[in-house]
Structure formats: C-alpha cells, structure tokens
C-alpha cells in the first residue's frame, strides 16, 4: 500500500463525493480554478450527462415512431351526396366526423366536445349539438352557445380529390377562435 500516503489522502480524499455529484470539497486549501476543472469535475459532469442521456432515451422511448391507429384520412363520397342544411351522421361512428353542408359549401366537424372530450348528439329538432356529459351546446356551425364548452367544435381539413370525391383529413384541424376557419381547406366550396 505504498500509494496511500497520509498527506495525499488528507487533501484529496474528501473529494470522493456522495452518489450525486458534488464538487471538490473544501478542507482548508481553498478552491482553485485548476482543481475545479479537475478530473473529478470532468468525471461527474460526464457521468451526469450520460445519466441524463439515459433519461432522455427513456422519454423518447415512450413516443413510438408509427401508430397502428385507424387511418386519419378518409374519402367521404361526392359532394352531391350531402343535402344543404343537413348534418350528415354517417361518418360519426367510424371516423368521428359530422359532415355539414350549408348554402355555400361543406365542412367537417369534429365530434369531440371541446369541454371534456365527450361526443355530443345532434338534435335535429333543436338544430344543435348537445353534449350529454355537461350539457354544452353547439350550433350547426360548431359555435358553442351554451353550457361549459370553452370554444367551438374543431373543423377538419376537407378537400376535393382529383376524382371529385371529398377527402377528410383528421390530422389537420382548424379552430374558429384562432381564425383558422377562414383557411381554404377548412371549408369546401361547392
């Protein structure tokens, strides 16, 4: 045991730190800049970085690169299939979309209530979407007018394919309160 001389251990031993990183301890000789950038500092810095790397990896690991969920884009037939002034319920079950046609065109409304994510019902008699969970009500346009819902229903991207069919793309949504309903793809002019 020739290397463990007393002098050295006295000054340097304290620098062996507890599990979490600590800098070099001060035991009277004072902190010099040189010793601050000593091997131990580099070591702990690198160790913390690597550990951070591990946790970053854990984080990233939980977000897969692909999803096996049902496809978010679907073809919804040709515009003639929709009657002006009516709310079409045929895509509600499969894709969670109401397609509404008014005098000027067609838009695709999300069936997710903006309050807490329930699915409202279309009440044809009252001409409104009424959410069964907390009673939010939306007009045919998707604008909220009663109940706790904080903002209008979202609309999805709706465009015409080359063959004249409607394509609804749920990956892209438009919010009225952000003024996005004016976007040409939020509304299909007929």
């Amino acid at each position: 045991m020739p290397e463990a001389t007393e002098k050295k251990t006295a000054t340097i031993a304290p620098s062996s730190p507890p599990p979490a990183a600590l800098g070099k301890a001060d035991d009277g000789s004072g902190v010099t800049r040189r010793s601050f950038f000593s091997w131990i500092s580099i070591g702990w810095l690198a160790f913390v970085t690597a550990t951070g790397g591990f946790f970053t990896m854990m984080l990233r690991f939980f977000f897969p690169n692909v999803l096996f969920e049902p496809i978010q884009t679907f073809r919804a037939g040709s515009p003639d299939e929709y009657q002006a002034g009516e709310v079409d319920l045929r895509w509600k079950g499969k894709f969670g979309v109401w397609i509404v046609r008014d005098d000027e065109g067609i838009y695709a409304l999300s069936t997710v209530c903006t309050h807490l994510g329930c699915t409202p019902n279309w009440l044809a008699a009252e001409q409104k979407f009424k959410c069964p969970c907390h009673g939010s009500g939306f007009r045919k346009t998707g604008i909220n007018f009663e109940g706790p819902a904080p903002r209008p229903l979202e609309r999805y991207r709706i465009v015409l394919a080359d063959d004249g069919q409607i394509i609804v793309d749920k990956t892209k949504k438009y919010q009225q309160e952000k003024g996005q309903w004016g976007d040409p793809e939020a509304f299909l002019k007929v």
């Binding site: 620098s15 800098g23 301890a25």
Partner: protein, 262 residues
Amino acid sequence: MAEKKNLLQRLAEGQIWTSIFRGGGVPKSRRQRMMVVLNSVFLHLHPVRLPKHAVKLKFTWCMGGLSFFIFLILTISGILLMFYYRPTIEYAYTDIIDLAEQVPFGIMREIHRWGAHAMVITVWLHMFRVFMTGSYKPPREFNWAIGVVLLLLTLLLSFTGYLLPWDQLAIWAIAVGSNMARATPFLGHEGPGAALLAIGDINFVTVASDVRFALIGGRFLGEATLLRFYVLHCIGLPFVIMIFMAVHFWRIRKDGGISTPV
C-alpha cells in the same frame, strides 16, 4: 465558514440535501466516510471496512458485482421492452421486427439480449472465482449452495426469455429443451417408470398431464407456452431470483464478508 463557498457546497450543506443524505455534506473524516456507508440504504449492503484484497480486481474480478449490475440493466431494459412487446403468437414476432425497424431506441432489445448472455458468463466466472479462492469453505457452504440456485435461476431466466421473439431460433431451442422434460423419470410421459403410474386403463402421466405440460401449457408449443414463459420470465423467476439474491448478499455479510486466508 468565512471562506467563499461555491454553489455546490451551499447545496450540499443545505436543508434539502442533508435531509436526503443523512449527515449531509461531503465526508471528510474517517468517521464520516463510515457513516456514509451506514446511512445509505443502498451502500450499507457493504460493510464499512474491508480486507484490502477485497478491493483488488485481481482478487475479486468484480464478477459478482457485475452480475448484479447486469441484472439491474436487464430489469430496466426488460421493463421498457414490455411496453412494446405483446406475448401473443400473432404479434410477438412482428413486435420484435418493429423494435429494429421503427421503435425509438429499439436497441433496448440488443441491450437486453446481450446483457442476458453476458450475465450467464459473469455468473459462471463468479462461481469459478469463488471456487478457485476456496471461498465456499466453512462457514460459507450454504451461501455457495444459494449461489448454485442463483446460477440455475439465471439460466432459467435466459431460457424463458429465449422463446419470446417467437422465431425459429426461439421455438426450436425451447422445443429441444422442453422435450427433455417429457423424459423425466416418472413425471414425464416418455420417462422411465411413467408407465407404471397407472390404475387400470388410466395413465396418470400422459402428454397432457406431465411436467412438460406444466411447463409449456399444452401438448404442443403454442400460445399458452408463450404466455407461460412470458409470465415466468417477467414476473415469476425475477421474483424468486430477487429473494435468493437478498439471501445471498445477506449471507455474505453474515458469514464474515469476503473470504480471507485464515
């Protein structure tokens, strides 16, 4: 206390730090160094002081410690893998493909597999070292026996994990392995003596009632086998091995720490 303190030092002497690490501060004196070990739930696995050869790599080869550390790596990577792997004959294989093709850090599978191989080797080498230093001799006989059980459990863990990718390599390795079980004396349906366990026309040990069946959950390797091996691999065996590990470590301390020449 008049000296300037840097941020880390302030932190180390602050209330939060000292509340987490009993005693706080940086151990400076011999006593403090001892207290660090005594006060930590993790570190007090160790004694406070050791014979000097116990810290020499030349003597210990660090194989026991590495085995334990690899076990931890395997536990963590294994838990992470469970998030993407489904133990069904439908998806097991494709999920493994996807680990390589699209899962972020699907490299977890490689870590787990190579770690498993490495653990078998380190456990063997640990046993080898213990034998060569005669460390199984009294009073450590029983702990050696525990060690043999741990070796067996390590092999079983590796063996059960081997099936999970559900590829040719997997099922045929398990097929070869589990078919040996059918030849278990008395308990396997093709084992010597099994035919004697019968009353009249009723055989007690048949293909659907022997140890092999208990192992693979069916007459043939199939969905049930995969599920059984999965449960054993992820819950059953780790649980058992942890108990034995606890005893193993405890006994090291109680049997006088690392073996030393008399």
